[in-house]
């Protein structure tokens, strides 16, 4: 399977960081997921072979981390935290708001493939709860209105 040159450069560098190849698995999975959109069977087979692991081992690791997925998701993955700090500061409401707004539930994807939604555990933004993460961007001190703006922003980006 073919990855982009950027991936190859990053991968080549990554494996040099660890004493054993398998240690490079998690970062490599993230790079691959960012590039392909999800960790398809093909990606799994390729990475297993490169890192001298069984496909089962690669799958075990993917299933452990909620940030890794084997199924394609929307272009923007909205991850709303409902853990303690966010919960007491209205995280659940933000989640429900997003569900209504996007018309999808936990782990759902909008029909146009732009958004998907996920309820997640603490993302480390407790001081500015409630917080959400869209792909790698953080959005904090959220209210329903603020969330609308955030979503609008991404949609606009997509329209351009």
């Amino acid at each position: 399977m073919k990855f982009s040159d950027t991936f190859e450069v990053r991968f080549a560098e990554m494996v040099t960081h660890y004493p054993t190849k398998r240690s490079a698995l998690v970062p490599t999975l993230l790079y691959a997921q960012d590039e392909v959109g999800c960790l398809s069977d093909e990606v799994i087979a390729e990475l297993a072979q490169r890192l001298e692991l069984t496909e089962l081992e690669v799958r075990n690791v993917i299933s452990y981390y909620s940030m890794l997925t084997t199924k394609p998701r929307g272009k923007y993955n909205v991850q709303v935290c409902t853990n303690i700090s966010c919960l007491v500061r209205g995280g659940e409401e933000i989640l429900h708001h997003c569900q209504k707004k996007l018309g999808i539930g936990h782990k759902g994807t909008t029909p146009d493939g732009i958004f998907s939604l996920e309820e997640v555990e603490c993302i480390g933004g407790c001081s500015w709860a409630p917080a959400a993460q869209v792909n790698y961007d953080y959005h904090e001190n959220l209210t329903a209105e603020k969330m609308d703006k955030v979503l609008e922003e991404y949609r606009r980006k997509e329209m351009q």
């Binding site: 069984t54 089962l56 799958r59 075990n60 452990y64």
Partner: protein, 785 residues
Amino acid sequence: MPEVTLTVDGKKITAPAGTLLIEACKSVGIEVPSFCYYPNLSLQGACRMCLVKIEKMPKLQTACTTVVSEGMVVTTDSDEIKQARKSMLELLLGNHPLDCPVCDAGGECELQDMTFSYGAAESKFMEAKNHRDEQQWSPVVFFDRPRCILCYRCVRVCGEGMDVWALGVQNRGVSSIIAPNKEDHVECEECGMCIDICPVGALTSGAYRYKTRPWEMKHVGTTCTHCGDGCKTTLGVRRADTGMEIVRGDNRDKSGTNGDFLCIKGRYAFDFAHHEDRLMQPLIRKNGKLTPATWAEALALVGKKFGEICDREGGQAIGVVGSTRITNEEAYLLSKFARVVLGTNNVDHHRTADFPAFAAALRGKPGATASMADVFTAPAILLIGNDPTEQHPLLAWQIRNNVRLHGAPLYAINSRPIKLRRQATQFLQISPGTETQLADFMAGSNDAADALVSPSTSKDAWLALRDKLKTEQNLVIIFGSELRGAAVAELVKFGASVSGAKFTCLGDYANSHGAADMGLYPDLLPGYHPITGSSEFHREWGRVPQSAGLDLPGMIRAGKSGTLKALYVVGSNPISRLNIDPFVFSNAFVVVQDMFLTETATMADVVLPAANAYEKSGTFTNTCGDLQLVKKAGEVTGLKGDFEIIVRIADAMGFDVHKLVPFGRGTQADMGQTRGAQSGEADRHAVWLEARGLEPKMSPFDPMAILDEIQRLVPGYDVSRMNLLAGNSQHTSLAQAGAGAAHKPELISSANDNLFTSGTLGRYSHALQSVIESHEAKHSEVAAD
């Protein structure tokens, strides 16, 4: 290792430094409960059942991951610990179904036992249980997810122990599950290790599941009947309409060298006994058709015919083919029967290794054979030829675990990229057929290395390897049937230059080594004594024909030319295994003893239905030369063991069976009654005798009487009878073997069995057939993709 002193529950104990606390406690009889801990597997620390209090440590500690240290003060039983155990069990039972009465593991479940000993009487959990349907992962492996307590033993034994890595853990926390390597099924070696190691009823086997309850079985420890490794297997038997039925095979008591290891064949392929094609009564050819007959009729006919032919044509007109799955006692008896009763040396069997050449090379070298236990402890191993993962699963397990646990270097040289190369410090591939040159090179001929050189291995690399090997201490050298004749002698010559080197010669079937030791050869008597000359056998047996007899090809030629008038085949299927034209024997009187109407039996004049190795007693010698007991487990009424059949034929020929089997001397015993008010006394008496390591030897059908003779006469078999009867393997020796004879290495033909085949016998095991079919189906799917 220096000893460490510590205090456990107020008791001062010592243990070698490095010992795990849980093991140290066990060694003095203090039980620390555990689930995930399993000796010889990596530490997991997952179940928290083994929590103990260690002074100066703030929290309770896991005894399974803590190493003993000097002055440690440990408490394994306090209110705090009791409470911790209760809580752990409560959590485990949170989603565990509470239906032990219908669970396959009920009665021998570790969770059940622990809950009984350490659990709380009630549960605070009110939540509904998360049910999941059971899944079938292969013909062998079934998984019932809610029962799983996530101890990860299965994952570790499959990966670390088997080097298969077919099981994994997916998700995390409470949603963790054990997952197979192929989404909804496993693609693996089907050994069943994961099933047996599972402490609960989460993994169950296709062979045994829901057939019976553990307490309804009787357990008999015997030796596997399949490959040459001689795993000890404990068979669970139960009463059936036809006698005793074997319903389970395992070795959970870890008696025997194999510990709890068994491959699929030892664990599940016992079902041939109840195959629908099993012969249940003797058959006699009448008007060209094999017709059911009584034993009396059949034996009388065989006795009469053999007697007539002996009288008319002499014994040399009769050929005898023995088996590699009959016991030593039967092989010895057959060898003796041929020589003494029939008066012929036309004796042979399916040869799968050059044991005569091996014995000749080791003559006068005591302690030069490696036992199966040695393979696990050897400081270094050289493996030439063979593919142990497929052909010798236990040997492969011993090698893998030696490398993993003791770090022994493995040097493997093979013409195929065998799986054990993954454990090898050095793996060298050679061209097929150059094994002989390899042996020559090892023995010192540098020129021979030219045939071994390849782009990946230069001549210098070969020289370096040989030098390296010579520096190893107590190297165990294991070789397959690729090495035969002079090559075996060359290899042994090389071994002489390595200090403490020991050898193992790999033969394929359960008693291939024994068949060779017991002299199922046309030119060798038991113990590799040449037929010409004089030995104890010539003296004791009396009438031994003095010239070498016919080997199998010779018998075929004699069959063709019409000089062979009778053929007696015991537990062998040469027509199919050696690809012989079935019509060559059509003019001879052919008698076949077997379980099934094999290709050989179909052309017989008399077919005698024989008991299999799980239905009789005696001994087997594994490929390493370890002598082990074979004990009767199953039983099918109406059948007779080969031992009894041979004796009865001798009797029917009018031969004095006292001259064949030394019975009725010595022990005199009241064997009690078998009927009436005192019935069962005979059994009790047998139990009493067995408990004292005594044997009756009261009847001509008692193999122990022949074992006496074997131990007395066959060199290297004078091992401790007490230890043997106690169920331990006893290593025999070839150092005092007879001088042997010039041999024909070309007659050796490897059985080429793999993990799922077992000669003719394997074809009658539904367990093996279903696995073969499912693996084939999967491969053809892949091919079609």
